[in-house]
């Protein structure tokens, strides 16, 4: 059993395995979707997703820019 850590995704609490990175989280939460990801106060280029390991209490926003107005 790997250790679990608490994070927030779009404001909702989630428990994920420690050492999960952004790429793995995206696969789990939004598989096959085209999303942008912000973590805490920065929007991460996708090239960096695989190298960004999630830390306890990280605030993740996954979003898809919609057009309207």
């Amino acid at each position: 059993m790997s250790e679990m850590i608490p994070i927030f995704v779009n404001g909702e609490p989630h428990q994920i395995a420690a050492s999960t990175d952004l790429q793995q989280l995206k696969q789990k939460i939004a598989p096959g979707q085209q999303v942008a990801i912000a973590i805490n106060t920065e929007i991460m280029p996708r090239r960096l997703w695989a190298g960004r390991t999630l830390q306890p209490q990280d605030q993740v926003l996954m979003f898809n820019l919609v057009a309207g107005g």
Partner: protein, 270 residues
């Protein structure tokens, strides 16, 4: 309220273009609540009078954005929209009245705004701008505010502003989702860094619906961000503000340049 009678044409284009003339008495009154702010001297008001802003799209975002930019005394507004006012627009496109139904939005908005502020110059562009026209207008203004309702237009503005290294503001909304942004090419990052280059399904608010107060919030944010761009403490980085409806709040996230971005990546790597 006061009984000041405004002569219809007593001060418009000529005053707006005269950089040296101080504010007249009516202008002092008109702008008085801003001029009372500690960091808003007459000099700042005169500087705003020299600014030229292009607003693309005069719908739910453009109406509130233009209202407050005009009210603050930005000297010249270019309003572009090829659409006509429809009944379903009235709940959130606050410059329009029933008598405007069927009228071009840019022209109806320009007329309404000129009533609100007779001291500035307002030009309506009643057509959908093509890329060449957009490029010319972008080169000729101090700031671009994208209030369009579709991704292709936003991506063209993004690309042109990147080419011309011009800062621009924009927003979009659908349903209860909303975003506003400042892109500063000199600081890095652009709309395409978000990875939405592929066209999204068309339809926008026609298919998704749209929460009317949200476009109002976004439009006011754009107006305030625009005024901040003309002040000395403008942010130097690019960012996106993401609306979260359950808390009715925005999260501001810095937009980091994606080295792989097809639009800004090459420039960034140089």
């Amino acid at each position: 309220m006061t009984h000041l009678t405004f002569e219809p044409r007593f001060a418009t284009a000529n005053n707006a273009e005269d950089s040296q003339s101080p504010l007249c008495d009516q202008q002092f009154l008109y702008y008085s609540r801003h001029l009372l702010l500690p960091d808003w001297p007459e000099q700042h008001q005169l500087q705003l009078r020299q600014k030229k802003v292009l607003i693309v799209g005069m719908g739910g975002l453009g109406c509130p954005a233009a209202t407050y930019v005009a009210g603050a005394g930005v000297g010249c507004l270019l309003l572009a929209d090829g659409d006509n006012v429809e009944l379903s627009n009235l709940p959130r496109q606050t410059l329009f009245r029933q008598q405007d139904l069927g009228q071009n939005k840019a022209q109806a908005a320009a007329a309404a705004l000129q009533q609100l502020n007779p001291f500035i110059r307002i030009e309506a562009i009643p057509t959908m701008l093509d890329e060449a026209q957009l490029s010319r207008h972008i080169a000729a203004v101090d700031l671009i505010i994208d209030c369009s309702d579709n991704m292709p237009t936003k991506l063209i503005i993004n690309r042109l502003c990147q080419q011309q290294q011009r800062s621009w503001l924009g927003a979009s909304a659908s349903g209860y989702q909303g975003y506003s942004w400042l892109i500063n090419p000199a600081a890095g990052g652009c709309l395409c860094c978000l990875g939405h280059q592929q066209p999204l399904p068309p339809g926008g608010c026609l298919q998704q619906g749209i929460y009317a107060p949200l476009v109002g919030l976004l439009g006011l944010q754009l107006a305030s961000m625009a005024l901040q761009q003309f002040s000395t403490n403008a942010p130097r980085y690019s960012f996106v503000q993401i609306y979260q409806h359950q808390w009715q709040q925005f999260n501001r996230c810095q937009l980091l340049a994606d080295p792989d971005c097809v639009i800004c990546g090459a420039t960034t790597n140089v």
